[in-house]
């Protein structure tokens, strides 16, 4: 394995994880709002 591979994978992984967490938070906020809007 190239000695730089862990550094590259660490960078790619962080970007993927960051984007995933942000999308998850947006989705959760949308679900919460939908539930609130549906309340009579």
């Amino acid at each position: 394995m190239n000695p730089h591979t862990p550094f590259i994978l660490g960078s790619l992984g962080a970007v993927a994880l960051g984007v995933l967490v942000e999308l998850l938070l947006l989705w959760r906020a949308a679900q919460r709002l939908k539930a609130e809007e549906a309340r009579p």
Binding site: N2, P3, H4, T5, F7, I8, G10, S11, L12, A14, V15, G18, V19, E22, L23, L25, L26, A29, A30, L33, E36, E37
Partner: protein
């Protein structure tokens, strides 16, 4: 022009823009990652580690751009007192903070194999860390004030003061002796191979499309949440 400041118009327009924006972001990022991590040649001096540039530099540009946009919307909100400006300002902060964090993280992972250290207290790194803290401070401040209009104004002032840090981040590599390399793109041209430059630009556009899509999505949610809160207050009054 005023009709663009109206929340119902914004909700309609953003609903139309969001699907193509998410698609564009996904396509550009996939293409950019392939260009940068598969197609672009290996760097003669740094070997494979240089490929972190394809994430580090676009993230740094977006972190600065998001903060500049926050300052712009904050200023507009303070001058025109438009709700949509403040909502856009606040919607930018989490995405900007993510990009600032990714800049610091990928920078550390690039620094270790090339400089032999994860971190140094030099001007570029320290001013970028300050930008990240400004984002966190903005999110904390606006979240700590219950009354939305007061939170908007306090946040806008912090955003405007923080804008002063942006030229320091950008020009720090020219103003001080730092370990960090100079600007990748300069008015005279780029200091890199055309294939490398193409990958960098495609990923930057992908990050930009992602940021716009995420910010518009969050702004829509915040607008609807504010309307919901107003309806609740009117119902209980």
């Amino acid at each position: 022009l005023w009709r663009y400041a109206s929340p119902p118009h914004f909700l309609r327009l953003s609903a139309r823009l969001l699907p193509p924006l998410w698609l564009l972001a996904a396509l550009l990022l996939l293409a950019g990652l392939w260009l940068g991590f598969v197609r672009a040649p290996t760097d003669a001096q740094q070997g494979e580690a240089y490929r972190i540039i394809y994430l580090h530099v676009p993230a740094a540009w977006l972190a600065m751009l998001c903060y500049a946009a926050m300052g712009f919307w904050g200023f507009l909100g303070l001058v025109l007192n438009t709700r949509l400006s403040f909502v856009l300002m606040r919607a930018l902060a989490p995405t900007g903070a993510l990009f600032a964090f990714l800049t610091l993280w990928t920078g550390a992972l690039w620094g270790q194999p090339t400089w032999g250290t994860w971190w140094v207290w030099d001007a570029r790194l320290t001013s970028m860390l300050l930008l990240f803290f400004l984002y966190l401070g903005f999110i904390g401040l606006t979240g700590a004030i219950d009354e939305p209009r007061k939170a908007d104004r306090a946040g806008a002032l912090l955003a405007l003061v923080g804008v002063l840090n942006l030229p320091i981040v950008y020009f720090s590599v020219n103003w001080w002796n730092t370990l960090h390399q100079g600007a990748t793109l300069r008015p005279g041209g780029a200091s890199m191979h055309p294939d490398m430059l193409l990958a960098l630009l495609v990923i930057t556009l992908g990050f930009w499309a992602y940021a716009v899509a995420a910010v518009l999505t969050r702004a829509r949610l915040q607008l609807r949440a504010r309307e919901q809160q107003q309806l609740l207050q009117e119902a209980t009054a």
